[in-house]
Amino acid sequence: MELLGEGKKVLLGNEAIARGALEADVDVATTYPGTPSSEIADSLSAVARKMGEKGEAPFYFQYSVNEKVALEFAAAASHAGLRALTCMKHVGVNVASDALMTYAYIGCRGGHVIVTADDPSCHSSQNEQDNRYYARFASLPMLEPSSPQEAKEMTIEAFEISEKLELPVLLRTTTRISHARGVVELKPLKMTSKKGKFEKGGLTVTVPEVARKLHPMLLEKMERARELSNGSRFNFIEDFGGEDGIIASGAAYNYAREAVDDMGLKCRIFKIGMSYPLPEKKIIDFLKECRRVIILEELEPIMEREIREIAQRNDIGVEIYGKGFGKLERYYEYTPDIVYATLAEFFNLEWKYEGDVREAAPRPPVLCPGCPHRATYYAVKKVAPKDTIYPTDIGCYTLGLLPPYKTADFLLCMGSSIGSGCGFAYSTEQKVVAFIGDSTFYHAGLPALVNAVHHNHNFVVVILDNFTTAMTGHQPHPGTLLDGMGYEAVPMDIEKVVRGIGVKHVEVVDPRNLQETMEAMRRAMDFEGLSVVISRAPCILLKSKTKKEREIYQINQEKCRKCDVCITRFACPAFYHDEGGNVRINEALCTGCGVCPQICPFDAIEVKK
């Protein structure tokens, strides 16, 4: 296991964070998965499972039901005096934010590092919100690494800052940090297993009177954080001559630093690693020594505004450039091309900017060959009226958005399929069929379903139960037999849950049986009131891990009449047209799921002998 090695290793940014937590002797790690954060927790899960085999794992790891619970669990561990790590993607912090805002008030005891992995350019997210605002919103210190090596060091430092200030510390990465690999120097692992003790009597029950006491105390802690930021080795200046300055953080620093070499720029770079609170004193000195300064930060002009304010308050006449200058925008991630072109303009150099993408036929991700979601969508489309509204949710099944299924009409966030389903059912006369995955159902679908039951909203909820959290890398969830440490867990039975909260019409189907699924869907849509169809079949990637021998299907060319239903309506990616225009099945792709023979009107799809 690379992560448990020694010396110098090439690690993913996320693995480096996991390693940092292990070097810091973390006691409890919790998460709800989400790209680009998932590998932090997945690495810790793998370590826990591996070490668990040989006896006690030296820390506790949990895939929690959602980010809020993950944070609450870890907050309690911290108040028992343990070191805790909680990781999530940027939108996960929205889910955890109710806990986070007040957690900042009561603070922590054992060091607690909360990782937020942001996703500028929405590579795998529903928005590109800038979570540096959360540091300001909640009043919590924030560190932002630029490389895997820094990610590891900052994780360790974050635990220390957290204990010094008795405040949880936010570690913010972006996709280009989390998913970059780089050389990381590994230090000895300190992994000891321990239990903590909760000392009663602190200011930990936030009734109004206590909250009012805590808020000024929090602000006072943040003043001390500002001092730490002024002294932080992660806020450093590199001098390449000249009288102009660059202030940069995160991925933008990497591009700027390389531009200085490549373009021979004379300037000083102030690299901001502890980005909240900003190192005000150091910034004042820096601004005073510069004639002009350009600020390179992705997304929102957060540092820019705070630095402009610092300059104004201290009467510093430096010219400040930021968003709106050169190619710097508030949306999408920066790229080296954007940063080079902008710096060229700033330093008055000839430069040609031609953008950094090239038009080529798109290759969007699609549902895997044999994916059970495809069968469900095919069956639903067969029986649903044309103007049926399909509120959808987040997971592999969101790919139902693509033709030919187009079974996705509305999506906000995890769980929104059922909440918005209630709203559409009330607001229209159209049929409403909401789709939600199993992991998403536990995460945020349950309260919405309770709402739907209680108000007897008339629509269908299809729960796509594929036994896993597929989209983010097949993590366990409350329905699985084992937990994230490989220990036996208590699997939740969705059917019992749904019946238990009072849904009257519930059916469980195997989507690989299309006829059965279509009939169940028809009954559910005819039912007056709320109905739930649980469409249950394992993600094909789980299955192929266990089942070695598989039957492969082929087209009987004599029977095939080239109606193309399999290609245009069912669209399993294993189908293709050969040069002669014949329909064929790519053997390397076919998983033998056995669904397509049911859709061919001429019985031309058969098992290959």
């Binding site: 998913h179 991925a251 620093y253 080079y340 991700p365 699609v366 790919l399």
Partner: protein
């Protein structure tokens, strides 16, 4: 010194594994190395790109016309990244198109492969190999990424000893694939050597 390569292909072809092997071999050979990769949504049959950069580098991302080579596991994916390779650089690509499923539905368009090759040749040096065929010869289509690494190594762009790269490959897989991988590497390398000394 600063050398960069893009490894491109389609989800499931072993692109990330290849990038990872190249990165670890680079470190073994004493180079600083950074890489970037895309996970998540990009995996389900979507396009996958990894950059591997060695030497005096900070950024895992690359600029237009800045990389020495593209190693592409599929022709269209070479084209998608073409603007990032230097004019005096190389595109090393497999010749077997993988048609995106949406195109089978009549959405979008896959340019004729010959057109793709022409466009690449207008930009820089093009080297084509039939890596699918070589991988099958080596024992399994799954060794395609190793064929590509063998071919890339033969171009001599990254200063890494052959044995260092082979050792890293051996460490990356179960023993039972060692033989097929060694063969795949050799076939990839020979495919380039037979094209002649291009670089």
């Amino acid at each position: 010194m600063k050398k960069s390569v893009i490894i491109a292909g389609v989800g499931g072809q072993g692109v990330i594994t290849a990038a990872n092997i190249l990165a670890r071999a680079s470190l073994k050979a004493g180079h600083n190395v950074v890489t970037s990769e895309l996970h998540g949504m990009a995996q389900r049959g979507g396009n996958v790109e990894c950059n591997v950069r060695i030497g005096n580098v900070y950024s895992p991302m690359v600029r237009r016309e800045s990389v020495e080579a593209i190693i592409s596991f599929e022709p269209l994916e070479a084209l998608r990244n073409l603007h990032k390779v230097k004019r005096d650089g190389v595109v090393l690509t497999d010749v077997n198109p993988i048609i995106p499923p949406l195109i089978s539905l009549g959405i979008g368009d896959y340019p004729p492969v010959e057109k793709i090759f022409e466009e690449i040749e207008e930009h820089c040096t093009l080297i084509k190999i039939n890596a699918d065929e070589l991988a099958r010869k080596a024992g399994s289509i799954l060794t395609k990424n190793i064929v590509m690494l063998g071919a890339f190594h033969a171009l001599g762009i990254f200063p890494i000893e052959e044995e260092t790269l082979l050792e890293t490959i051996r460490e990356s897989f179960h023993e039972r694939y060692a033989e097929a991988n060694a063969m795949a590497f050799k076939l990839g390398k020979e495919a380039i050597e037979s094209v002649g000394d291009m670089h």
